[in-house]
């Protein structure tokens, strides 16, 4: 394929791979990056919110050039039952700052731009190239990759696996396990196009201001999952995700669920009259801290979604991918600068640095949450939203019932559905897992 030897090979041009390749190339290393898509981003799906801080660490002035949609001024959480939602909004004019903190983006466009920066930094990037296997020496050390190009074997001192959640290479080589259905969610998503002014009027926005809505409740029919609605400049990203194990258990279809979400009386008016231009689907790592595999070994490192570095509770993934990619690269640059070999022992520096970053600290904080949500999905995603919604309606409707009686009805409905013991234990476990 290429008759050269590289200092490092990066598999994948998503958030993690681009961060890694950029960082190594800038420090003068000779880097090859391989991406199976026609262009970077052509295989990638995200909500998508971009967190500025982590991006700034890589490209300080990205705001001036990157294709960004809207900066977020408002976040809504909706707890939904079939006909209503109880919501919390947080909106602040302080988010209209000079260097906004969060933006909506369109991943395929953003990745293309990001990839151009990686090339400018000196990385050799080959698109339309699927890596089929890791090349290893007789002692099992990773020495390069094999691709589907003719004579497609290339060698390097170290390989960075940034292949995303469904990464085949690492699992095939036995470096980590394939994700199990209870550790990944399947999200389906549509892009709804509308005139700019219509979006701004419907979401109460001016100019480039943006809103995100995260929704949970009966929309997932008792499965562990959530819906999302993000306002972009001229389109709305709308999607729904649930654990694969729940889809398997219930026999619900992903598109059926999405359709149901779109028809909800709180959602339908936001997208009425839109033109859909894309339907996509992707997995999201949900296993959290306890699902993180071995992160490095002889001649290899794994970063981003491939390493399950995804904070499902806060819906953060791209920033963990960016950060783990950058930190892995910094560790490699360090080893390389001392002319040390890329052994597991030397590369363990990556894990040490990652442990000290927000990535591992955040994931550790919520280590018990995924399991709790999964084992109690009926309560958290079906029973409680219905109860809360009924309680709200009971509270808001003025019908001559004394307020004290209304309160009693609400309390009774909660206890009846879940028993005092059940409620108490859910509350305690939730509090403990959150802490």
């Amino acid at each position: 394929m290429i008759d050269e030897r590289f200092d490092a090979i990066v598999v994948g041009a998503g958030m993690a791979g681009n961060a890694a390749a950029l960082t190594m190339a800038r420090s003068g290393m000779k880097v090859l990056q391989l991406e199976r898509g026609e262009y970077a981003g052509s295989k990638n799906v995200q909500g998508a919110i971009l967190y500025a801080d982590m991006m700034e660490k890589l490209i300080p002035d990205f705001r001036e050039e990157a294709p960004l949609e809207r900066h977020l001024v408002e976040q809504r959480f909706w707890m939904m039952d079939d006909r209503a939602h109880v919501g919390m909004h947080y909106r602040s004019d302080e988010f209209n700052e000079e260097r906004p903190n969060r933006y909506t983006i369109i991943r395929a466009q953003f990745d293309k731009w990001f990839s151009s920066k990686v090339r400018e930094a000196g990385t050799t990037v080959l698109y339309e190239t699927t890596v089929t296997e890791l090349a290893r020496d007789s002692r099992g050390k990773v020495i390069g990759v094999r691709t589907d190009r003719q004579d497609g074997e290339v060698h390097a001192d170290v390989v960075v696996l940034a292949e995303g959640v469904n990464g085949l290479l690492g699992t095939r080589a036995g470096l980590r396990e394939r994700p199990t259905p209870d550790k990944v969610a399947l999200a389906v998503k549509e892009m709804h196009f509308l005139p700019r002014e219509t979006i701004e009027a419907r979401f109460n926005l001016k100019e480039d201001e943006g809103v995100v809505i995260e929704a949970a409740g009966t929309i997932s029919r008792g499965m562990t999952g959530m819906g999302f609605i993000y306002a972009n400049k001229e389109c709305i990203s709308l999607g729904m995700g649930c654990l694969v194990s729940d889809f398997r258990r219930t026999g619900e279809t992903p598109y059926g669920l999405l359709d149901h979400f779109k028809r909800h009386p709180s959602v339908a008016p936001l997208i009425v009259g839109s033109e859909v231009k894309e339907y996509s689907a992707h997995l999201i790592p949900e296993g959290g801290y306890k699902a993180i595999p071995q992160l490095y070994g002889e001649g290899w490192l794994v970063v981003g979604d491939a390493a399950q570095l995804n904070n499902a509770i806060h819906r953060e993934g791209s920033n963990l991918a960016l950060t783990s990619g950058r930190i892995a690269a910094e560790a490699i640059v360090h080893v390389n600068s001392r002319r040390d070999p890329m052994t597991g022992t030397n590369l363990s520096l990556y894990k040490k640095m990652l442990d000290n970053s927000f990535v591992m600290k955040d994931l550790k904080k919520y280590k018990d949450l995924p399991k709790l949500m999964h084992t109690n999905s009926e309560n958290f995603f079906l029973t409680y939203p219905q109860l809360v919604s009924r309680a709200m309606q009971n509270f808001v409707r003025v019908d001559g019932t004394p307020k004290i009686e209304k309160e009693r009805v609400t309390v009774r409905s909660f206890v009846k559905a879940r028993s005092w013991v059940g409620l108490f234990s859910d509350a305690c476990r939730l509090a403990r897992a959150w802490r």
Partner: protein
């Protein structure tokens, strides 16, 4: 509106694909009666690539596949399917993602 009346084909029509004719990247193992895992794919695949044929076996047509990996997670461990990425450049091409 029932689930089955959601027209997935119409949704896939919005997408761009470069189909690698004659080289499907997902294959179903030959079987007489489908396993539980294979049956689950009839519902779980977001592009409805899996269907039952007249004689009751599960078949896959990958033309509309969005390469999510859901079927891999469900049915690769039991050997019911064989899953690969399409060759470089082929398959779904998201414009937005």
């Amino acid at each position: 509106m029932t689930e089955s009346s959601v027209r997935v084909e119409d949704k896939l029509y919005y997408n761009r694909y470069l189909v690698d004719v004659g080289r499907p990247h997902v294959k179903v193992r030959a079987h007489n009666t489908p396993s539980q895992q294979l049956r689950a794919l009839l519902k779980a695949c977001p592009a409805r690539c899996y269907e039952l044929n007249e004689t009751g076996q599960v078949e896959v047509t990958v033309d509309g596949c969005v390469e999510c990996g859901t079927c891999r997670v469900i049915a690769e461990p039991s050997g019911d399917i064989e899953w690969n990425y399409p060759r470089g450049g082929y398959g779904v091409l998201f414009k937005f993602g």
